[in-house]
Symmetry: C2
């Protein structure tokens, strides 16, 4: 039997998937738990990835005519009450501000000056933006109103996990108002397509686009659309949602406009959002037992150059060559921007630094030592093919080929994720017995199992929720691409209304 290979991340995915996930984050130095339960500190490497992702999204939001704005962190209790009154399934775990002063008493500080009305830290800004829109919209000339907000939000989480489920997280929420249904529906689909494109072209993971069944809809929405991704344990992660809200929210918030003819009409509204959760999805899609693998487009550093200094006197000779190489690489273009390269000159042993960058998922590592000086070469490692032998390349080739390598890595990551997803997407499950068997693996440690998505016909009946709940399975979406004819419902044997994607989920 082959000796198990030593890996940079322990435990491995097969040993303990949830613990592996935490270890990847720790190993890449992306985030950590804070002294406030459920809230995380996003460390520089994790935050730089978020900034890149924000940039990729924000460029597309602006290109499609949206403007950013900022709404208050705190929401008056009466706004939440109004929402709670007409929305079933209202989440009640929220941070409540009740006082606005701290006063010293017996050597301690105690809350003082109670507020007349408690304030809630926004779990979403839906209600307060609705209130603003009702003041901002007056005439058909003001429509469409296309607003986005980048913000922190808070939902008290009892079982937090870094990036995936934290009490505080960062997100964007788009809110738009339109004169008619057609315009609002187009917006809903346009933003879903923005999310699909960012997931596949930037984050390099494939997603299934579709609609949520009625019982999985955002409360109050007419239609909820989503992009669903498969993690390496076969579970689904909802990576983004886009809601067509009809006139429901406009009615609740009184968002009306005067038509060209002079009548007053309710707007049709939409909302859509993604969050730092996407970083959790990025990790669980691409990372392996040696740590993170970053798609080059989102990598804060794309190429790291490590000087190998065996003797103290090597520094004076090797460093200038490393800097020269860095300059040559930085002068090249990838994805329309100069390549982000840096020399890691820190006074740590080279192997330690190498493994640090492997764990951080930097796409390309170049190593240059005293012997490379004479030959003017560098050892070249692709993070996505770490197991392969390092290539020794002449310096004249490196700068010229690096953009191509990065492009190939970006494509390879997407390809590998798609192949994985397709391998574990089963379309051959025909009845409840097979369905039950397909979802009976060990849920908490399913990397090595065959757990995945099941794509099968579904009858659309509410009662199927009970069957699914017992199996801890959910309908992720009804994909947009539907076959011309459908077999019977996999759960009930009744005539089906659509094919659905079934999965266990984060």
């Amino acid at each position: 039997m082959a000796k198990p290979q030593k890996t940079a991340i322990s435990p491995t995915r097969a040993e303990n998937y949830p613990d592996w996930y935490q270890a990847v984050i720790r190993g890449a130095d992306m985030a950590e738990n804070s002294p406030v339960r459920g809230c995380m500190v996003i460390k520089p490497w994790g935050y730089a990835i978020w900034e890149r992702l924000q940039g990729a999204l924000d460029r597309r939001f602006k290109a499609t005519g949206h403007e950013n704005a900022y709404f208050p962190l705190l929401i008056p209790l009466r706004f939440i009450e109004k929402e709670a009154a007409h929305v079933e399934g209202f989440a009640k775990e929220m941070a409540v501000v009740t006082h606005h002063r701290l006063t010293a008493k017996d050597g301690r500080l105690v809350p003082d000056a109670p507020l007349e009305e408690p304030l809630i830290i926004r779990p979403t800004s839906e209600t307060i933006i609705g209130e603003a829109f009702s003041n901002w919209v007056r005439s058909y000339r003001d429509l469409p109103l296309l607003v986005n907000q980048w913000a922190n939000v808070m939902r008290w989480e009892l079982r937090p996990r870094l990036f995936l489920r934290t009490s505080e997280f960062l997100w964007q929420e788009g809110h738009t108002a339109h004169a008619d249904e057609k315009d609002a529906r187009e917006e809903t689909m346009r933003m879903l397509e923005v999310y699909r494109e960012v997931a596949e072209d930037e984050l390099a993971f494939p997603v299934i686009c579709g609609e949520k069944p009625e019982f999985e809809r955002f409360p109050g929405a007419v239609n909820t659309y989503c992009i669903e991704a498969m993690m390496q344990d076969g579970k689904a992660l909802q990576a983004g949602t886009s809601h067509y809200l009809g006139q429901n929210f406009a009615r609740a918030a009184n968002i009306k406009y005067q038509t060209e003819a002079g009548d007053w009409e309710l707007c049709h509204t939409t909302s859509w959002g993604v969050s730092t959760r996407l970083i959790g999805a990025l990790i669980m899609t691409h990372a392996d037992d040696n740590g993170l693998k970053l798609p080059p487009r989102l990598a804060p550093t794309q190429v790291v150059i490590l000087p190998i200094l065996r003797e103290a006197e090597d520094r004076a000779r090797v460093m200038p060559f490393a800097e020269e190489l860095c300059k040559a690489v930085s002068a090249q273009i990838f994805s329309g921007e100069p390549i982000r390269a840096k020399v890691d000159a820190r006074d740590y042993p080279a192997p330690d630094k190498r493994w640090e960058w492997v764990r951080k998922g930097v796409p390309v590592i170049l190593e240059v030592g005293p012997r490379d000086l004479e030959n003017r070469t560098a050892a070249f490692t692709r993070r996505d093919r770490l197991e392969e032998k390092k290539a020794i390349l002449p310096d004249s080739e490196i700068a010229l080929r690096i953009g191509g390598f990065l492009s190939d890595i970006q494509g390879s990551l997407l390809h590998a994720a798609r192949a994985f997803r397709d391998r574990r997407l089963r379309a051959d499950i025909a009845d409840l017995a097979a369905f039950t068997a397909a979802f009976s693996g060990d849920e908490d440690n399913s990397f090595a199992s065959s757990l995945g998505f099941v794509r099968a016909p579904w009858c659309g009946e509410d009662a199927t929720q009970e069957t699914l709940k017992a199996l801890k399975v959910t309908i992720r979406c009804l994909p947009f691409d539907q076959p011309k004819s459908l077999g019977p419902c996999v759960l009930t044997g009744k005539p089906a209304v659509a094919e659905a994607i079934f999965a266990k989920a984060y």
Copy 2:
């Protein structure tokens, strides 16, 4: 007597300066009060200016080696208590979270599930970042640690004013740790210089750089440096601060590193910050009785093109010319980026749209009507010289000259602000009687008065605080450029230690 000119903003600066300020913000559609007292909604035009300003700062932070990170919104009470224990002048107006649930009771929602320890919405992240640094720093190899955070913070304000003083505001806070005093002091001055450069080169207002006297220091700092700007009512506004904290904060938070020799030493730390307050300063520096004037570098739209449509059939002829002009202008460069131009095709009367853009402070307005089509001309208005007659320029000239115009506007705004500041900076006040007279104008409506800065020698004695307090005057800073010899203290007649800038302040 000349008939008073009609202005776009009412009241004017001379009529009621504080109300004029609010009216400029309303007229430019930058921000509004929210349903939560003291918290503002930053509307798209205001937020787009903030995004430009963020970009200008963030580029410089990164160019000087800083990385962004994100720390939790909530801070445990015990952290604040620890700080309060060793810091005098501790501010106690803070939002306190005491519960993490809302529960329905008699048809209302009430706070439920009390927290074991109350949590405070961050008034600054000093303590929680200190705690993180104490875990992150281990070795001299990890230093300097250069971190910045973009975040919302909250300090309960009883007398809020949009941008200038709001309970919630947006800011950045830089926190750095260094191996020695020299490195930390260099950092402190480097970041002050970043602030000066952004104020003068981007925001186009001149600032005085200097050090705060001891009694105006950030609590716990060894030195506090600042940039001070003069508003149009002659009051000072502290536009940014940079603190050298010595080892005080490192001692409190236990931020230690192992030296190359193996000993453990306390770090030297710094912190520095600016906020959305800068937008208040921008308004009060450049706006006039017709609204905002934006420095072109920060203007979300630099050139707006207004089609003048007198008859319905004009649209089909004029719009293509307007679009063509927009394309030609957008193909030109200003300050290293394509010029940001747009056609305002909204179905509102042209004069209304023109005044809207004047109030919003867009640097250049181009108007094209049916007659311009034949001559291929456009009417050209510079917002900073609104009173001048519109220039009629041939379309062949406009695109080529526009970058130069924008550059000239950027320079002119700074020049005008500097001339205003210098005019109201008095260096001729020699004794307390003259000093008292200089500051005896109507504080709340001082646009038309001669209120301004006084630059005069100061004895450095703590007791002078009382004299100043009675006059509602503060020492803004001891400017870096000091004369070789000093006269006697303007307040006491005693020997002076430095020249100081005295002013009433926001």
